[in-house]
Each structure stands twice: as structure tokens, then as C-alpha cells.
């Protein structure tokens, strides 16, 4: 009995098809190098949580099952900066801590991105005194700022998605600076 492939896609009759058609494999796709690599990179973020203060609670909430950053490929924290590509700075950074943060950032391999999590990491928050660094962008470049004291998990997820859009739009040199 000959079946219609379009109505019954689950078990197509491939008896008359060529070997290539039967395997169902792509022979080739057409894309751009930066788009392909950006697409791969944006779904394989390995965050390094640099967690210093109360925002950590919200970081745990957003990492947990109800919000589940795994959906964005950003679930598995690496506790070594050398294995991570997303530095999440969660909480207040003091002047005394700034050299440590800089050292962690310098140890991360390219490509790397930085997410400032919460008001303190973004701007120093309500601290304006001898102790607190008024925003981590004074010492390291920041890709995405997530304000809030603390930010809602939805805001963090929005920040991760914005970072993904940014990565997808970026140049991704892999061999030389031109390719």
C-alpha cells in the first residue's frame, strides 16, 4: 500500500527514495560564520557567579527550578573563571574587593561577557561612601546591566536574553581578527 508522506509524516515510506533522502541528513546549510558561532555561543553561556551580597538570594531564585536559567543554556555555574565566559557580578563590590574582581575577570578567556546584577554592581546602589565601588564598570567593561534592589528573576532572565541578542549580533573572530 502506498502512503501519502504529507499525511503520515511519522513513518514515511522511503522504499523509492535515494540513500541520502532516507537518512534525512542535511548535506549543507548556508549561513554566515558570525551568525553560526554567535548562535552556538549564546546558548552555551557558562556563568561564573561573583556573589558578594544579598542579591545572591535572587541569584539562587533565578537559578532554581521555578525560573530555570537552564532554558537559556546559562545554568551551569563554573567556579573557576578559566572555564567560564559570563561573569555575573552579584552584589556590592567594595574598594577592598575590587582587585579580586579584576583578577577574576583577567583570568577569564576570550570571548567573555559581564553582567552587572543588581543596583550595587551597576552603580554602587545606595552606597555612596568610602567603602563601596560606585559601579563595577569603573574597573571592568560591562555588557548588560540589570538594575533592581534586588532585581526580580524576570529582570535577570530579560538581562540574559538581551545578552544573548548581543552575542548573536556580535562579530566572532576565531582565527584572526578578520575571520
Amino acid at each position: 500500500m502506498k502512503m501519502d508522506r504529507r499525511t503520515i509524516p511519522i513513518a514515511p515510506d522511503k522504499s523509492g527514495a535515494s540513500a541520502r533522502e532516507r537518512s534525512g541528513a542535511f548535506e549543507f546549510i548556508s549561513t554566515k560564520k558570525d551568525e553560526l558561532i554567535g548562535w552556538a555561543r549564546k546558548f552555551s553561556l557558562f556563568p561564573y557567579p561573583f556573589v558578594t551580597a544579598c542579591c545572591a538570594m535572587e541569584f539562587m531564585a533565578v537559578s532554581g527550578t521555578p525560573y530555570d536559567t537552564d532554558r537559556f543554556g546559562a545554568a551551569l555555574p563554573r567556579f573557576s573563571p578559566r572555564q567560564s565566559d559570563l561573569l555575573m557580578v552579584v552584589g556590592t563590590i567594595t574598594h577592598k574587593q575590587a582587585p579580586i574582581l579584576l583578577k577574576v575577570w583577567e583570568q577569564m578567556c576570550e570571548p567573555k561577557w559581564v553582567l552587572a546584577f543588581g543596583a550595587c554592581a551597576t552603580s554602587g546602589g545606595f552606597y555612596q561612601n568610602y567603602a563601596a565601588l560606585p559601579g563595577i564598570d569603573r574597573i571592568i567593561p560591562v555588557d548588560v546591566y540589570v538594575p533592581g534592589c534586588p532585581p526580580r528573576p524576570e529582570m535577570v532572565i530579560d538581562g540574559i536574553m538581551q545578552l544573548q541578542d548581543k552575542i548573536a549580533r556580535q562579530r566572532h573572530p576565531i582565527l584572526t581578527k578578520d575571520f
Partner: protein
């Protein structure tokens, strides 16, 4: 024995060392001369069982002479009462005696007070910064420390 009884017993015994006493919020407050500090605290510890040293801090009174007030808090785990000891330190030489010989925990708390207010504790040999960092100039909780004065350890990035 409740707090009032303890305080009633303490006040006459300590009167020679204290120039002003009061009870504020259930805490016995003893204002003393700096020279009487060690003698008073030794008696508090040995005779009245104030075995727990809670904290030492300072108060900056700009314009007042002497400028600084140094405040200690002690707790008696036996009588369940607290006592506050206050004395004063001049701006030119803000020094008081250290309590490290009586309470080992004074070591770190005096370092913190030295960080924040610049009070010198005579007898504490280790007054290195504990909350601040080496190279920090000034004492940030003094009223004349500018609120926005930063002393960053990492040079700031320049605008790209």
C-alpha cells in the same frame, strides 16, 4: 537577682572610680576618667562577673572638647545585665588604654575602632587595618571625612 539589684550593689562600690552614673534603657552607664579605665574594668570583670566584652566604639563630637567619646559595652552572663562605660579622648592625642590584658576579644574590636575613628589603644600592639586596607588615609567614620572621598585600589578605566 534582677538588674536593679545588681546596679544598686554596683553603684556605691564603684563610686570612687566613676564621676557620673545613669541607667538608660536598662543599661547601667558609667562615665569615667580615662585614667580609671583599667581599674574599673578589672573590678567589673572580677567582682561583678561582667565576663563578656561586647564591643568598643567611639563617638565623634565635632566642636566639642575633648572631641571623642569612647564607649565600651560589657555583659554579665551570670546576672544577665549590661553595662556601658564611657570616657573621653582629646583630638590631639586620641588614646585610651587597651583592654587586651583583660579580654582577648578586645584585640580585633580595638583594631576596628582604630580603623574607623583613629583611636589609639595603648597596649594593643597590633593596630593594623582590619576592615580597611593598607594605604587608606584617614578615618572614615570621623565627621570630617568627606562622604564622597574614594580611595580606590584599582585605577579606574578611562572613557573609551
Amino acid at each position: 537577682m534582677d538588674a536593679a539589684h545588681v546596679f544598686d550593689r554596683m553603684q556605691p562600690a564603684l563610686a570612687p572610680l566613676v564621676h557620673e552614673t545613669a541607667i538608660a534603657h536598662g543599661v547601667l552607664v558609667l562615665a569615667i576618667e580615662p585614667a580609671n579605665l583599667l581599674a574599673l574594668v578589672r573590678r567589673l570583670k572580677d567582682e561583678f562577673a561582667f565576663d563578656l566584652f561586647l564591643d568598643v566604639t567611639a563617638v565623634d563630637w565635632p566642636g566639642r572638647t575633648p572631641r571623642f567619646e569612647v564607649v565600651w559595652h560589657f555583659y554579665s552572663t551570670q546576672h544577665k545585665v549590661r553595662v556601658r562605660v564611657k570616657t573621653q579622648a582629646p583630638e590631639a592625642d586620641p588614646a585610651v588604654d587597651s583592654l587586651v590584658t583583660l579580654y582577648g576579644s578586645a584585640r580585633f574590636m580595638e583594631r576596628e575602632c582604630h580603623d574607623m575613628y583613629g583611636i589609639d589603644f595603648r597596649g594593643n600592639a597590633d593596630l593594623r587595618p582590619i576592615l580597611l586596607y593598607e594605604g587608606f588615609v584617614g578615618h572614615p567614620l570621623r565627621k570630617d571625612y568627606p562622604k564622597q572621598r574614594e580611595q580606590p585600589l584599582v585605577p579606574y578605566r578611562t572613557a573609551e
